[in-house]
Amino acid sequence: MKTNRFWKWALAVATMAVVTGSAFAQAPSATSNTAPAVAAIAAPPVAAPAAAPAAPTPPTAKDVNSGDNAWVLISSALVLLMTVPALAFFYGGLVRRKNVLSVLMQCFILACVISIQWVLFGYSLAFGPDIKHLIGNLDWAFLKNVSIDTPHWDAVTASSYAGTIPHQSFMIFQMMFAVITPGLIIGSFAERMKFSAFLVFAILWATIVYDPVAHWVWGKNGFLGLMGALDFAGGTVVHINAGIAGLVTALVLGKRIGYPDRMSPPHNLPFAVLGAALLWVGWFGFNAGSALSAGGLATSAFVVTHVATAAAGLTWALMDWIFNKRPTLLGVISGAVGGLVAITPASGFVNVMGAIGIGVGAGILPWIFVSIIKPKLGYDDALDAFGVHGVGGTWGAIATGLWATKTINSAGADGLFYGNPAQLLIQLKAVGVTIVYSLVVSFILLKIVDLVMGLRAEPQAEKIGLDLTDHRETGYTVLD
């Protein structure tokens, strides 16, 4: 017993020593003084996300625009807000009382563990110097070469991820995306996955699925980006990706005991509303923040995000009203989230009327999927992560190919409705690639984790509830 205790402590202390040591060792190389000393007169800040090729001078600290940086920092905070508490409460309110903490825990631990993964190597894999258009190399691991006070500069393409904010601002903004994406998947496997298996799967998935896909679409020289795929804030990278992974997880894990007839309704619908409302607010950081500056593009992304969401929430309510006799609150918030999802890839490329079109579609398509198709197919996508994010994200990525217009963003492209059917094809290709990759790799990862440690909670644990069995806690006291 004593020895056992000893080893535990040794482990803890050793962990700390290693991290502390490595922290010290790495420290000097992680500083910011890597900016070229060239006394170049900086070019004026460029609002468009991809800097024009006519400005090939590497940026310096003087290029940092305080308004743009303030906007990206607050946007980063808003995107964190989307994971904790927003997504946590949106999902947490919808599960049964006995599993509320398990969902909150999953969201919270992701905010911890993926953030560390990101600074250690995730960011470098996703956005670091390109290897064969497929993945970033490890030059930026431990945030080496990621400056705190000068904007990023890519010598190969003579362009910057964001020319008016410090490189680390871009890094932290993107980190929040990496955190929330595996969080979305939780909705599919809620109430039945073992916590340990979840944690291992999430880390693997973030590294092997998220980071490469992000590189393909957003990384300098990633192949989907080069192909011309438009994804302003993450329709493919975030929502389709997570939605498909959710579908696979739901299928691999199987149904919850008692599904579909003996499930209780959402244990705390106001919590879900709180989550949805905060998602809406936070999503302005997600979409308008993706302008990476606080000019007209941010304004436009902000406006279309809001309008599409409103249209989708209203549409879902009307669908409920028409087909189920009553508009429901769960319907309105589901629609709103669907609208947010769908407008995401389009938010920097469409105008307000496009936003309404996308929003209406996002109220109808997920509704059909969740209400009609899912019950027929009979798998258990517990909180409809696939139904909302997968379907909504796919609709949004395609709709971007319909309504995109260069009058909104000259760095973008025109879509079908503006005379360019080719863009629709490109969008479809990007969607297809993402679906196939996420589907196959998620499946393989799940199978591996299942083999090694088992994915699913014991039936007894599932009945008692994961809060108590996995975490030894209960959400609410009964007696006072």
């Binding site: 309704p265 087909f323 189920n324 769960l330 509704w367 969740v370």
Partner: protein
């Protein structure tokens, strides 16, 4: 001594309590319960999934009482609880063998009031 258990509609609680008060029956214990009866519940719908919703919110009253007060108590509950619609509930009466007031240790009839 009798032990009365009454299941009533939640929104009749105040009314019943008042009627009991009028008959000088002051002591009562109240519990939130769910009931399945003849009254059809309203089916709830979540993302188009209908929940049967057979269990409805009800309120349970428990009253321990001396035999002399039984009739007035039943009357009060019926008067206060009746709306004439299905779902008004039931009253059950059982025999009570003993009653003790914890504070004083009194037993039987005097302890009940």
């Amino acid at each position: 001594m009798k032990y009365i258990i009454a299941i009533i509609q939640p929104d009749r609680l105040e009314e019943v309590m008042q009627r009991l008060e009028e008959k000088e029956i002051h002591l009562v214990t109240v519990t939130n319960v769910m009931g399945r009866g003849r009254q059809k519940g309203i089916a709830e719908v979540y993302r188009s999934h209908r929940e049967a919703g057979t269990l409805l919110k009800k309120v349970k009253l428990e009253i321990a009482i001396n035999d002399a007060y039984l009739k007035p108590a039943l009357d009060a509950i019926i008067q206060g609880g009746r709306t004439g619609q299905v779902g008004d509930g039931k009253i059950f009466v059982m025999n009570l063998d003993e009653c003790i007031r914890i504070r004083t240790g009194e037993t039987g009839g005097p302890a009940i009031g």
